[in-house]
């Protein structure tokens, strides 16, 4: 918990420090909650050029009545983690089993599924890239099919919600807009990477100069930039990163590369994905008022307003991390209970 706050502070300060992935102590598992952690095969990830594992650990949290009601089917909330953290550590930090237990006690029973998408660069961005692997498709197809085949789910769109925090909030937008057939409702917490990322000639050159073997020491901000680059402007012919850096041979900013990045930016995607956004039963987004991402998240709220897309929007007192576990339990899951088919 402290490490996550520390890493968030590092992001905020852009302090150059040794980057490590965030860890958290094991989550408490309340009585009656069962947790499984299958390795889910990812055909969509096969052949990725970073050598990221194609079978991913997925935390599956089953509600209290799951064992005692063998004929009951349950809605599923897919919950996407942020950058530089594994699915398991995010599940721990968020105390997902307690959130599932508390909601069940209030009559809202869900299966919550947290897939791991940690990559060599520190995060998949939940995007489709031959360099990192097609994580967008992994979440919306491979994972959903596996969960529906192996658990008693309400195996249709009406029974599926998608949520995530930070990079996972970004993933909620990106996966949701491109795979609206899979999910009924979505909620993005403190979403990162909403507006198009830009570079100067200097910052682009600095990115291109990071030695491949030293990525882990490049600092949180640089690592996040590299993770975005390999996810959004892959180039299978350009090892070792297999990326097009946003810099031309003349040392200028490569506008085509920036356009490719922008093409993965939820803010730039909204206008061309309105039918997908309109198809959701409900959309929610929130961010803390002390989060550096409040401006970005306000922009996508305004873009949705402009196009008349109904959504729930809240700026609450808090930082990028201090209230997110509480809000997942007290706001996000109750939101899905209102909109998903709940079974019984």
């Amino acid at each position: 918990m402290r490490t996550l706050a520390l890493a968030a502070a590092m992001l905020a300060l852009a302090a150059p420090a040794a980057a490590q992935n965030i860890t958290a102590p094991d989550a408490a598992v309340p009585e009656g909650i069962k947790v499984e952690n299958p390795m889910v095969p990812g055909p969509s990830l096969e052949g990725n050029l970073e050598g990221n594992a194609t079978a991913r650990e997925v935390m599956v949290v089953l509600p209290p009545s799951y064992a005692s009601s063998p004929n009951r089917r349950y809605p599923v909330v897919y919950y996407l983690h942020g950058f530089a953290i594994s699915g398991r550590d995010f599940y721990d930090y968020m105390q997902v089993p307690t959130a599932v237990a508390d909601n069940a006690a209030a009559g809202r029973e869900f299966i919550v599924v947290v897939p791991d998408t940690l990559t060599k660069m520190g995060g998949s961005m939940y995007s489709n890239s031959p360099t990192t692997g097609n994580f967008r498709d992994f979440v919306a197809t491979d994972l959903v099919e596996y969960i529906d085949a192996n658990y008693r789910t309400i195996a249709s769109r009406e029974g599926r919600g998608l949520a995530g925090h930070s990079m996972g909030g970004y993933g909620t937008w990106a996966v949701g807009m491109t795979h609206p057939e899979a999910f009924d409702s979505i909620w993005a917490q403190s979403a990162c990477c909403v507006s198009p990322r830009s570079e100067t000639a200097e910052s682009a050159a600095a990115m291109a100069a990071v030695p491949y073997e030293n990525v882990d020491e490049a600092g949180f901000g640089m690592r996040a930039g590299l993770a975005s680059a390999v996810a959004w402007a892959p180039n299978p012919k350009n090892p070792p990163y297999y990326v097009d850096f946003p810099v031309t041979e003349n040392g200028e900013v490569d506008q085509l590369v920036l356009a490719k990045w922008a093409n993965n930016s939820p803010l730039a995607m909204v206008a061309s994905h309105l039918p997908a956004l309109e198809s959701f039963d409900a959309i929610g987004l929130d961010v803390g008022d002390m989060d550096g991402l409040v401006r970005d998240d306000t922009m996508i709220h305004e873009e949705l307003e402009k196009f008349g897309i109904d959504h729930q929007w809240e700026v609450y007192p808090g930082t990028h991390t201090d209230k997110i576990g509480q809000r997942f339990s007290e706001v996000v899951l109750p939101f899905f209970a209102e909109h998903l088919e709940m079974g019984e």
Partner: protein, 336 residues
């Protein structure tokens, strides 16, 4: 008695085709497209389409056929294409060679002379008009082989753009595609000058604009729509008071560029049964097509390419006959 006899004859006539269909038949049909409803330009949700059935369609009521959808170009209509392409003759010729297909040519025209087969609240959702509403209607009203293995998508110029766009975004609808002289592959860059010129146009100016003057308007309404725009275009040029452009506008536009979209949609293109593109060696779109091919090559996407002697339009009718329809004959599944 006489009446009963007449009724029997009439019933017989209904049950048996009166005339054998020895030529392809081309019919102009209208269907309702929910995807176009509610657009801000008033483009009709009742959309027309040519449907061409091959010779013998009536005589073989148990036979089902593969379907090729063909998307026309900018400033054009299915009717203007039919004058040049003679789709019915092309389908009859293919059938005579044993390649029996239904062909469908939908109306992609809009207030500003072309919807770019894109999805915009200002122009309407032409993308889903083609990929969803039209396909559903054709499958419901004709004896088609109603699955992706027997559906092809082709188009010329703006229609070539529509072909690759729809193939990327709707991978489960069409199994094979053919792009002819595709436009709009690279991101279009709106400059402050062009934005200012568009801002200065009134409705009469837009109506009177030539090709070069209108094209940036048509793409702007398709790719940077803005329902809150107080002007008549209902689009966002991004022009600010200080004369500079909001960079988001060009990013929004670029989010419709196949060259830029490509890395995200490789699984869709790699899943195609057949993928072909061609262009004339004197076509003004040669360079962006070369760039697009270089990207396909870089990502290892399989496709057939033909460079032929010609310009943007002078050999399209011929190539539909010599290459496009035979390509679909080779790739689409026929009835067993």
């Amino acid at each position: 008695m006489l009446r009963a006899f007449a009724a029997t004859c009439l019933l017989g006539a209904l049950a048996t085709p009166v005339l054998a269909q020895d030529a392809a038949r081309i019919e102009w049909k209208t269907l309702h497209s929910p995807a176009i409803e509610g657009n801000l330009e008033g483009n009709p949700a009742e959309r027309g389409a040519y449907v061409v059935t091959p010779p013998g369609y009536d005589e073989h009521p148990d036979k089902r056929y593969p379907v090729v959808y063909f998307l026309h170009g900018y400033t054009a209509t299915p009717q203007s294409y039919q004058q040049d392409m003679r789709f019915d003759e092309a389908i009859a010729q293919a059938a005579a060679a044993g390649n029996e297909l239904i062909m469908v040519v939908p109306d992609g025209y809009s207030k500003h002379k072309g919807g770019f087969y894109s999805s915009s609240p200002t122009t309407g959702d032409y993308e889903n008009f083609v990929a969803r509403d039209l396909v559903d209607w054709v499958d419901a009203n004709y004896r088609t082989l109603a699955d992706e293995e027997s559906r092809g998508l082709a188009g010329h110029s703006m229609g070539g753009y529509g072909t690759i766009r729809i193939a990327m975004k709707h991978p489960d609808v069409f199994s094979s595609i053919y792009m002819m002289s595709a436009c709009c592959l690279e991101p279009m860059v709106l400059t402050p000058e062009v934005a200012a010129r568009i801002e200065g146009m009134n409705e009469a100016d837009v109506a009177a604009a030539d090709f070069g003057g209108l094209a940036p308007v048509s793409t702007l309404v398709a790719w940077s729509p803005d329902p809150t725009d107080e002007g008549f275009l209902k689009a966002d040029t991004g022009l600010k008071e200080d004369g500079t452009l909001d960079p988001l506008v060009n990013y929004r536009i670029a989010a419709n560029s196949p060259l830029v979209l490509l890395p995200q949609y490789l699984p869709a293109l790699n899943g195609l049964e057949g993928f072909a593109m061609d262009i004339g060696d004197m076509d003004f779109l040669l360079e962006p097509n070369r760039l697009f091919r270089a990207e396909l090559d870089r990502f290892g996407v399989d496709y057939n390419f033909a460079l032929y002697e010609g310009d943007h339009g002078n050999r399209i009718a011929e190539r539909i006959r010599s290459d496009v329809l035979p390509f679909f004959g080779a790739h689409l599944d026929e009835q067993n």
